[in-house]
Each structure stands twice: as structure tokens, then as C-alpha cells.
Symmetry: C2
Subunit: 298 residues, 2 copies
């Protein structure tokens, strides 16, 4: 059997069951970051993301933007755990013929994004490769009281997103700003129950929250904020690479959030009992059952 028959998540599940963790690990594989014991009141967050030419970007893309994206996706993972990014390593697999000028621009994009979030680039690795391959690993910290994972959603929670969805692959995926500020504002001021970043599409990523929290959800097409680049609701549901945050909180907290930051965060639906499944109410009032699918690598 080939890996593409088993699928990305099938492969991950196949591996995960063999992994044993000791008590220093609060959260292993299966959330946006690993969460590790650190100090009395803080956790370490640890995450990595690999970008490959021809898969996550094309070779004729602006190298500055590729460099920028390569660290932004990991910063977004730290945001999805409500932490602050601190240190990163960049591993590069480079084709021999890569122009040095390309790498200069790539590196400028990387450093500008790191500087914006006060992240230390503390090292990396350089290898020869057939296609430009970038793997970034990032360390962050989060106060224990601010950490939010995928698994805390509760029936009755309101589901919010931090911005417009869909069509990111036409450009925004290279230019997005990771939602660190928003995540910190939310967890400092509200009781957030669950949190994830939308990297694989709304259906897939809300699906992760539902599976981890053992809940269902109903979302409303007319409430979902579409990016102007999106061609329709399907782009928001399945395309991915939006890198907006999705979070849930109780109805009373949602009301308070709405009063404090009207229109900054957009309610798109509600958490319901798992027996009701994962539903989309279309603009015409009809109901369709969603599958938690989206962008997968295989």
C-alpha cells in the first residue's frame, strides 16, 4: 500500500498509537503545538512546519513572500495555543542552482516576519535538495492560565472566526499576519473554550475541534465571512491556508466579546451535541451535513 492511499491523517493515526510520552508532556501530537512543562506558571509550546516547492508555493513566487510564509505558519500555530513565539530554527533543503539573490530575498522575508514578532532565529541546518524545502521549528511560551487547546469546546458555545475565509491560495496565504495579538487579547479577557488556526479549511479545522471535544456544530452560510478572493462557500470550507483563528466560548462570554470588540470577531455558528453531527445551514435555509475534510497532502 502507498502512503497516498492511507492518507495524511491515516498515516498520522497509524504512527501516533506507538508513541509513549512521559509526564513532562501536557499535550503531544494532535494539537497546533506540543505543550511541555516549563516553569511554575508557564508552558513551552513546540511546533514545526515543512513547506515544499511545488506543494506549498511555486518556484516563480516572490522569494521574500516565501521566506515570510515559512515562519508565519509556525507563528500561527503558536497563536492557536494563545502563546508568544520566542525562538526558531530554519532547516533549508536547497537545489544547487538556487540563485544567491533568491536566498537573500527569502532570508529578508524570514527575518522581517521574525522581527515583527520579536522572535530569535537561533540556528538551522542547510542541505542539498532537489526542490526548495523549508522546515521551521518554533518554540514559544504561554501562561498556564491562557493556554487553550482544541479539546475544550462545550455544547452551547458560540463559534467565532477572526477574519475572512476562502481564496487565500490566490495570494493571502503568502501575506497573512499570524493572529498572535488577537489570540492574546481573547485569552487575556475572555474564557475561551477551544482554539485552532484554519490551515486546512473551515470544515477540516472545525472538524478537529469537534472530534477532540466530542461535539457537533451548526454553522450558517450567511454568517461565514467570505474573502473577496473566494469564489464561494466551498473555498472557505475546504481550501485552507486562511490562517485565521477559529474559537468557541460560552454564549454569555460571546455576548461580552461582542460588546467589547464589535465586528472584530465574527460569530459563524454554535456547538451542539455530537449526535446532531456537523451541519451547514445554507442561505436558502436548507441543511447539509458536512464532512471534516479539507486540504490534505495525500
Amino acid at each position: 500500500m502507498r502512503v497516498d492511499k492511507l492518507g495524511e491523517f491515516g498515516l498520522i493515526e497509524r504512527f501516533k498509537r506507538f508513541i509513549k510520552l512521559d509526564s513532562s508532556v501536557i499535550q503531544g501530537a494532535g494539537d497546533d503545538c506540543a505543550v511541555i512543562k516549563y516553569t511554575k506558571d508557564k508552558y513551552l509550546l513546540f511546533t514545526c512546519d515543512m513547506l515544499v516547492e511545488g506543494v506549498d508555493f511555486t518556484s516563480d513566487e516572490n522569494p521574500y513572500l516565501i521566506g515570510r510564509k515559512s515562519v508565519a505558519v509556525s507563528i500561527s500555530d503558536i497563536a492557536a495555543c494563545a502563546g508568544l513565539p520566542k525562538f526558531c530554527l530554519v532547516s533549508l533543503g536547497l537545489p544547487k542552482k538556487t540563485p544567491v539573490e533568491f536566498m537573500d530575498k527569502f532570508f529578508k522575508g524570514t527575518l522581517d516576519m521574525l522581527k515583527r514578532f520579536k522572535i530569535n532565529l537561533v540556528g538551522g541546518d542547510l542541505s542539498r535538495a532537489h526542490k526548495l524545502t523549508i522546515d521551521v521549528s518554533m518554540l514559544g511560551v504561554v501562561e498556564k492560565r491562557y493556554l487553550v487547546l482544541r479539546k475544550g469546546a462545550k455544547v452551547g458555545d458560540i463559534i467565532f472566526v477572526t477574519g475572512k475565509l476562502g481564496g487565500s491560495i490566490y495570494g493571502k496565504h503568502l501575506r497573512f499576519v499570524p493572529r498572535i495579538k488577537e489570540a492574546r487579547f481573547l485569552t487575556k479577557n475572555f474564557k475561551i473554550h477551544s482554539l485552532i488556526d484554519i490551515s486546512d479549511g473551515l470544515a477540516q479545522d472545525l472538524g478537529h475541534i469537534l472530534r477532540e471535544s466530542k461535539c457537533g456544530a451548526v454553522i450558517y452560510e450567511e454568517a461565514i465571512p467570505l474573502d473577496k478572493a473566494a469564489k464561494g462557500i466551498k473555498d472557505a470550507l475546504y481550501q485552507g491556508e486562511d490562517f485565521e483563528l477559529l474559537f468557541t466560548l460560552s454564549r454569555s462570554e460571546a455576548r461580552r466579546l461582542w460588546q467589547k470588540a464589535k465586528n472584530k470577531f465574527i460569530p459563524i455558528g454554535e456547538i451542539i451535541a455530537s449526535k446532531w453531527g456537523f451541519r451547514l445551514i445554507k442561505k436558502d435555509g436548507t441543511r447539509i451535513m458536512l464532512k471534516p475534510k479539507g486540504f490534505v497532502h495525500f
Copy 2:
């Protein structure tokens, strides 16, 4: 200009000068691990290594051994800072056609090596790629008093290695055991001045110590322990992938080490003033000046 004209180290130097670090970083890029402030008496160690099919291993290699090596090289980096490895992430770029059975064996090799050193595999990333690409990032800890870097060698120090060199590319590079135990024994019991793992070859890696410590060295061909797979002294000097440790300590500490652990660690030469350069005394007594060259990716 292409990156292969600038060279691996040229490219790293080109990038490094733009990196700004804050006071939480004890050591950034340029040693085996980054060293980061942690607790009152400990530092965090942070390192990553990328392995690419066709560069670091061939596709017909035993997948168990590829999995094993992919984490062993990072464990060796932690050993080279005298720390203990604790947590790791594995990013995989997989060709679609990779057999699941290949990945099962790969993963078994990875987990067996991690288990041996009590390391938690806390997550990773999976991407499609043209060639199998593995990037491992590892977090370790080291007591402040045990940390040893490349830069502490002193004139008069004796240079030791932990084992046989050369010919590793004929097999040992897939089977080596990272020298964690040896590094811990050394730093707990002796005042070690400088430490590195030999990944690019004796000439290159001792060269790193000389550059960072602003020293020269004289090494003796007849003292350098050759692996039986090595075809000659050049394999030890320039081939790399031995993953033995090289360290220096004062003459009196070296004497004490020799008394306590005779033959376990092999003296191969001496640190001298930088004006005398980097010398090899051949078996016939002739002297040649060495260049700190070895395996480079470009």
C-alpha cells in the same frame, strides 16, 4: 551567482550577520545547538537536522536505519553540548508512492532510538515531496555547569576523540550510537574546555573549534584511531558522518582522564597558538598544514 558557488558555510555567514538576538539567547547559530536561558541552573538546547534522500541516504537503504539515523544526528548535537535530549518533532516530506511498509519500518527505527534515550516525540508535520525529506528538531537540557561549547579550547590542551574515525559512509553513519553517555561522563568528572561532534570530518570539525577558540592545533597521524572501514587517514580527516565527539582539556585533566578511563578516549594531538596553524604530523615525521575542509553540501 548560484548557492553552490558561494558554498554552504559562505551562505551561512552571509545570513548570520543580519541576525539580531536578545539576551535570552546564550549561543545562537554557530555551535552544535542553540543555547537558551531556562531555569536558575539549566539551559535549553535547541537543534535541527535535515536529511534528504540521495544526499544523506539512498532510497534502497534499510528504512529502519534511516529512521534511526534521522533522530540520532540531532541527539549527537545535544551530546556535543553535553546535554540530555528530551523532546523532538519530526517533519516528513514524502513522495506519494512511498510504501506504507517503508514508513512503518522508518518509524520503528525512529521510535527505538528515541526510546533508548528517553526522548518524547511530541509532534511533527507531514508534507508531500519529490524525495523523502526528514527534518528533526530536538530540545534538550543541560546544567549550566556542564555546558561546553566549541569556543573554549586553550593553548596546551590535549585533543581527544571518543572513538574510531573514517569509513562511516560505508555503514556506521546509519548505525552509530550518539555519545550522550560519554559526554555526560566527561563533563561531570572533568573540566572540558571545548566539545564538538565529528559530523563533517575531523579536519572540518576540529577546524570549527580552532576558529571559535582562536587557536591552532597539531594532530598526529599515528595517534588517530582509524575505523577498519576507513581506507586511510584522508577518510578520517575529510569524510565525516563519524558522530564521535572531539574534545579538549588541559594536560593535567587529560592525565587524570587517562588514569580514570584508560583507552576509552583517544588523545590525537594538542592545541597550539593560532600562529602555528593547523598541522598534521604524518607517520614518517613529515608535517603538512591542514585546511579545515570536509563534507559540505555545496
